[in-house]
């Protein structure tokens, strides 16, 4: 999902930075508030953030004959919401821009918007819609994580299509082309990522259900029932 340095014209690079900065500022404020209220949230933040570090470094082969990486942002978005997730993503993406030549400083804003803002926001929306319904808790996490992953790549396609409309077909034409590269490759990865992160969520539920209850991640009775299974 990285747009490479130099591959966005200056006006688009600036545009995405302008969108990304308020999201990050809001995320930092929220992070301060959550950690100020509950120090026990810090280890949970470590686990969810740790998985963003791990999963976003794994390039996996896909059915299209190309490789791509999962994002790992869904579980953080479920536990802390999309804005805190943006901050962690910004750290990962900055590391990758500075040391790995994946992405770059001018396109960092665009990459934060795709991986750190819209992806997590989409996953969070799914989770919020299903949280208080009868749908199985782990299924909600699978679904939210897969959608967060997939939407990240859809937004990358959108960002590139806006900057490079096709001569024939314009924006829509090149959006389809970029979706073919980014989104289709991502489908199997998104499903596996969802299942793996749901498993991680299960272990958190079993070890530390109190934190999830205090953060109101799911209704208390659902978490208690799931924690009692073990």
């Amino acid at each position: 999902m990285h747009i490479m340095e130099g591959f966005l014209p200056l006006q688009w690079a600036v545009f995405w930075w302008v969108l990304a900065l308020p999201c990050l500022a809001f995320g930092v404020l929220q992070l301060k508030r959550i950690l100020g209220q509950d120090r026990e949230a810090l280890p949970l933040l470590g686990v969810t953030g740790g998985f963003i570090f791990i999963l976003s470094s794994l390039k996996l082969p896909s059915v299209t004959g190309s490789c791509s990486h999962p994002t790992g942002t869904g579980i953080s978005s479920v536990c802390f919401g999309p804005w805190v997730t943006s901050v962690i993503c910004a750290i990962v993406l900055l590391f990758q821009s500075l040391f790995l030549a994946h992405g770059g400083l001018s396109v960092l804003g665009a990459n934060i918007i795709s991986m750190g803002v819209v992806g997590p926001l989409a996953g969070w929306a799914i989770y919020r819609a299903l949280r208080d319904t009868g749908v199985n808790m782990y299924f909600v996490v699978i679904f939210a994580c897969a959608i967060a992953d997939l939407c990240t790549y859809i937004v990358t396609s959108l960002e590139l299509a806006l900057a490079y409309p096709a001569e024939v077909g314009g924006f829509a034409g090149s959006f389809v082309l970029f979706m073919g590269i980014f989104a289709i490759t991502q489908v199997p990865l998104a499903i596996v990522e969802g299942v793996v992160l749901a498993l991680v969520f299960k272990y958190i539920v079993h070890l530390r259900p109190e934190i999830l209850i205090r953060l109101k991640v799911f209704p208390e009775e659902k978490i208690r029932a799931a924690a009692g299974d073990a």
């Binding site: 591959f7 082969p61 082309l177 590269i181």
Partner: protein, 101 residues
């Protein structure tokens, strides 16, 4: 067994399927290069812009890892940092749980 380890079984099945699909599709398509989608996206952008990929200049000067070895090392470092934090926290929680029961 099924009730308790349902999610584990689904996760293992999903990973095995993923590997199986990869082995099957890669055997069908011997010329697939398995390049990164980022790289493919960049070439497509270059095609649409009608200029060659080398002509794209970084807007902000950028350091590039001198070789693929160094790059993969740095990726491994990134994953290791995440892994250490995750392992540390799960160990910490387990210890807390054992002490309280």
């Amino acid at each position: 067994m099924w009730a308790k380890y349902r999610l584990e079984i689904i996760a293992v099945a999903a990973i095995v399927c993923f590997c199986g699909v990869f082995l099957y599709t890669s055997s069908l398509n011997a010329d697939a290069e398995y390049a990164g989608s980022d790289t493919l996206g960049s070439s497509r952008a270059a095609e649409l812009a009608g200029i060659s990929e080398e002509d794209f200049q970084p807007l902000v000067p950028q350091w590039e890892p001198p070789s693929g070895e160094i790059e993969s090392g740095l990726f491994a470092l990134q994953a290791a940092v995440g892994g250490i934090i995750v392992g540390w926290v799960f160990g910490f929680w387990r210890g807390q749980k054992n002490r309280s029961t």
